[in-house]
């Protein structure tokens, strides 16, 4: 038995089993229902875009880690895989693979690594990649092909929100039925069409306590209140809140994009303000803005407020007096 020379270390001596790679791969698992749904709806096109985005993200991450002389183990922490997966889910199925790769490179290089890698980026990397593609290649990013499972014979058609915005779908009565929105049998981006698959994944994340429940709840609440006011005042002109929640990218935005740990506030009160703001801006853009869809821009917009929110929503320290 040794008498001395025991290891000295700082307390605490036990740590939680949870780790960064574990969190990241939990998110990947929770995205899998939506991935399967989109592969089912869009077949090989979806598979190609998913694979090329993930591989391009991993490659860009590896190059930047090498350039910045950073340890390589953080390549496998799963954050680059998630960025690729999330970016692919927000791309239209008809997009060519080169554009998907360009988007992934921008997402990792400009969205994440120029700020100092994982944990230091201001904006959600996947959404930065998508915003870049949307600005640089607007035609390719708004050409929607119908899913294979929806048996119609046209090359392109509008997303549910697009027809709501530009074709007066409510007054014409051509609004996509709620059942199709739930199953994903509508036009739209790869991963955002099937609301039920995204909701399942989101529930799994909530049950594993990976994401903050305040953020999805706050977004859904404020969007349904905002659109509900207009729907109740004039149901003949505005779509119902349920349509707004299930249509477009709101589900993936609320459960997977806005809850990205790095780009959401660290204080509980800050999370509430952030979530309510996102829902409100989504509603504003959808009802009055120039775009049919506003989830991407509203999340990016609220991301800019996160440092401010963190500063002004500091929790009151135990025993600290309220400022009078």
């Amino acid at each position: 038995m040794p008498d001395k020379g025991f290891l000295l270390q700082s307390s605490p001596h036990f740590l939680d089993k949870d780790s960064v790679p574990r969190i990241m791969y939990t998110v990947v698992i929770s995205l899998s229902p939506a991935v399967f749904a989109s592969v089912y709806h869009f077949r090989f096109r979806a598979l190609g875009i998913f694979l090329s985005c993930i591989l391009a993200c991993l490659a860009t991450e590896a190059i930047f880690l090498w350039l910045r002389r950073k340890p390589f183990f953080s390549l496998w922490d799963g954050s680059a895989v998630i960025t690729g997966l999330l970016l692919a889910m927000t791309l239209p199925p008809s997009l060519s693979l080169e554009l998907a790769v360009i988007g992934s490179i921008v997402a990792i290089a400009i969205g994440k690594q120029v700020f100092g890698g994982l944990g230091n980026n201001i904006f959600n990397p996947a959404l930065v990649g998508r915003a870049f593609l949307q600005t640089a290649f607007p035609v390719a990013m708004t050409t929607w092909t119908p899913p294979v499972t929806l048996k119609i014979d046209i090359a392109t058609f509008a997303t549910p929100l697009g027809s709501l915005k530009f074709q007066n779908a409510v007054t014409e009565g051509t609004l996509a039925p709620i059942k199709n929105l739930l199953l994903g049998n509508v036009g739209g981006c790869l991963g955002e069409t099937s609301a039920i698959a995204l909701f399942l994944g989101g529930l799994y994340l909530l049950s594993r306590k990976v994401i903050d429940w305040r953020i999805p709840l706050g977004i859904l609440l404020s969007l349904s209140i905002f659109t509900g006011i207009f729907w109740l005042s004039n149901p003949a002109k505005y779509a119902s809140p349920l349509f707004h929640i299930l249509g477009g990218g709101l589900m993936i935005g609320a459960f997977f994009m806005a809850t990205d740990m790095v780009t959401s506030p660290i204080t509980p009160l800050g999370s509430w303000i952030y979530a309510l703001g996102i829902g409100l801006i989504v509603g504003l853009i959808r009802l009055f803005g120039g775009f049919p869809e506003g989830v991407m821009y509203s999340i990016l917009f609220m991301n800019t407020f996160v440092p401010l929110l963190n500063r002004y929503t500091r929790p009151r320290i135990l025993g600290e007096r309220k400022k009078t």
């Binding site: 605490p12 660290i266 509980p268």
Partner: protein, 122 residues
């Protein structure tokens, strides 16, 4: 005590102090003595700002910010965010998924502040 014991803790697992030698007396305040094998070192990741430490902190501090301020010698900011109120309970470090030594950094920050104050007084 078996031969395998590589770490000796006086006190509990969260706040106990490690001892270098067995020749330490047990006194009235000693709550317990723990011994186990040398733990494997876990890789430290970047802080992903998940906010778990902020939710867990019983003093309602923001440990992740305090640790960063302590790391970069920002003593005035650290004091404004209440680094001296930390009770070193270890809840933040326990829940940290990035395995950052939060309590260690906060202790270092406290020492930096108190030594600065001592210098000013002298």
């Amino acid at each position: 005590l078996k031969d395998k014991a590589g770490i000796l803790v006086m006190g509990g697992p969260m706040m106990g102090l490690t001892q270098w030698t067995m020749a330490v007396p047990v006194v009235k305040g000693t709550s317990g003595i723990l011994a186990w094998e040398v733990p494997s070192i876990q890789k430290e990741h970047e802080c992903i700002r998940c906010g778990r430490c902020v939710v867990r902190c019983p003093m309602s501090l923001m440990p992740t910010l305090l640790a960063k301020y302590a790391k970069f010698d920002k003593t005035t900011e650290a004091e404004a965010y209440g680094i001296l109120d930390c009770v070193e309970c270890g809840c933040c470090q326990y829940s940290c998924p990035a395995k950052i030594s939060l309590v260690h950094w906060i202790r270092l920050g406290k020492n930096k502040i108190t030594s600065l104050k001592r210098e000013k007084r002298a």
